[in-house]
Assembly symmetry: C2
Homo-oligomer: 370 residues x 2
């Protein structure tokens, strides 16, 4: 027997056009450790949008039922040449109900249960996953939290783990009013970690104020640099996680950190001796990262990927991360979505463009089976 | 008794003008561990030029005997606000003869000897140093090598030490035909370390070819990216030391490294999993560092300072670094200078501008006592 599924697939053509479409597939019955998930809901995260649409020009795209064909900026086609011709499934995280299972006991034990996992390609009606990598979810966990129980909670917990592992005493986070940012804010509060929340709009500052955050700085304000220095001084936060990537945010963060470290010290053209670090983990801005190096020589800017970081941890720390996630699924890591859409609705012009705008507070939940 | 000395001092005024001048000073006789050095020769390194002139507009400066007053670009004044009003002595490395010493045996033992050390302010006739930080030099070591026995040799040896400490298998070096670059090239050959030499002009490539270097790539050539990828593939060098700082060199190095790591692999929008790293240790280009992030998420760009790195090493590794330097003073680390100038000549318009141009193969040696 097989099960018919429709899957969201993104393909960049050699002609520089990106095609996103619903592709039908027959899924064979699960065997061994496999389980067959009926996808209840999948979160549409920035990382999914990056894979699905990337820098494609959606406003110039052709839309038809189950199909979007969009031009790509020329520079992007070059940068993405590695994926030309690859049909890539989309959907990093979601929750599904196990409706069939292979013969192994670990698989059989999950029949009828709701689980989250990371098989990828979750923007689908059905998907095969490995039972050993699934996380069983409480039956009464709201579907929204279930759908978003993996990427953001793990990212927030791994930010904290990175900070502790590297001996920093506080964190700076940009795009701090995002779903992830709010989770991190609550987590830091619970763990007693000083956090500087950097936002880009007054209404985002308001979101964080409403959940009791103390150090909120708004880069759209004239006094941003002074406020940032003040907040970093108050928190001692010399490690930042930056979701923006492009532009001069990393540079401004490092300059502010250096200014705090140099307060009261004699001039030193090499800057302060304390390590000041920014991890770039997102690409809200596809433009280049611009570092003016006005912050001496003891600094570090690095890329950061949650799964590579998590896999690099020793077993006992991985266990701690998982336990910390489960502990907070109904509180710290509870998720809300503003919009629910079906697979078909994702291919409507207005929906696709609004969803891809990644507007704070406007997150989309995909419910592939209605 | 006192000794009269003239010292090069650089001061940035609140009005945004930089004054570099010869300042007379009476030096008290040495006591305790102190020794009084008559400076035989001091190397004029890029780091000295950075402190002395920085981004000042020398072509618009007023020159008079023993005094240069130069305007600074507005952005630079802001970046350098920390040094406004500080009278900063110049001269990081040089060799001098001990002509008087404090009563301590370590100091007395050096009387009449030629030493190098790092008291700073060596662009002077005389200077006090701590005997315990001086390195005694062989009497017959040529004065040029003696004058340059500290900063560049230590930097080259510490590049190698960093590479080994972090588990990399080869090095990329930019501005590779510099004095330092040639030392590194010889050192890597002796130590069996694969090295990619990146230069900016054909004549610089020729210099490296003449000392037997194999992997030389010229960023002024059209096939630079392809040649760079080829050289990185041949050497496995995923760690670079960049003297340029500004512009997109770091970005191009990381892109080439990622391209090598991704060869034959399936497309991965997160880039290759191997760590790819660039240390920025110089500022030949004062402009911003521009990273296009076309190299995935497993990368690192950091500032690097030789003395901070050296001081972070455990004692046994510091000893190894010192021994490796002494071993190579007549060969690997022998220095040549194109020009010799006196303290007074440094303040002549043509000399100051030519010296500050940091042209490869045109290094200046300062002989303060003629």
């Amino acid at each position: 027997m097989t099960t018919t599924s429709r899957n969201v697939v993104s393909t960049l053509g050699a002609d520089g056009k990106l095609t996103v479409e619903l592709v039908e597939e027959e899924i064979a019955d699960p065997v061994g450790h496999e389980v067959l998930l009926r996808i209840d809901a999948a979160a549409i995260n920035p990382s999914d949008l990056g894979l699905m649409f990337g820098p494609a020009l959606l406003d110039q795209a052709e839309f038809s039922p189950g199909k979007i064909v969009a031009p790509m900026p020329e520079a992007a086609v070059k940068a993405l040449s590695g994926r030309v011709g690859d049909a890539i499934r989309v959907g990093n995280e979601g929750a599904g109900t196990v409706i069939a299972a292979g013969e192994e006991p670990e698989a059989q034990a999950l029949i009828g249960k709701r689980v989250s996992g990371r098989p990828g390609g979750l923007f689908s009606n059905y998907r095969i996953a490995d039972a050993r990598t699934c996380m069983e979810l409480p039956e009464d966990l709201p579907i929204e939290s279930a759908a978003a129980s993996f990427v953001n909670p793990m990212t927030a917990v791994c930010f904290v783990e990175t900070m502790r592992q590297e001996g920093f005493k506080g964190l700076v986070h940009t795009a701090a009013a995002s779903n992830l940012g709010q989770m991190l804010a609550k987590l830091c509060k619970e763990e007693g970690i000083p956090l500087v929340n950097v936002v880009r709009k007054p209404e985002q500052a308001e979101i964080l104020r409403s959940i009791g955050m103390e150090h909120i700085v708004d880069s759209s304000q004239d006094d941003f640099n002074a406020s940032l220095i003040e907040a970093i001084e108050a928190t001692g936060a010399l490690l930042a996680f930056d979701a923006i990537g492009g532009g001069n945010m990393a540079s401004r963060l490092l300059s502010a950190m250096d200014a705090v470290c140099m307060k009261g010290a004699a001039y030193n053209r090499y800057g302060s001796e304390e390590m000041k670090k920014v991890y770039i983990y997102g690409t809200l801005d596809f433009g280049p990262t611009i570092l003016d190096r006005s912050f001496g020589f003891t600094w570090d800017v690095s890329g950061w990927l949650v799964m590579r970081y998590f896999m690099s941890l020793p077993k006992d720390r991985q266990d701690w991360v998982r336990e910390r996630i489960v502990k907070g699924l109904r509180s710290t890591f509870a998720s809300k979505f503003k919009h629910r859409i079906t697979l078909d609705e994702l291919f409507q012009r207005e929906v696709a463009i609004a969803c891809n705008a990644k507007t704070t507070g406007e997150k989309y939940l995909l419910t592939p089976n209605g």
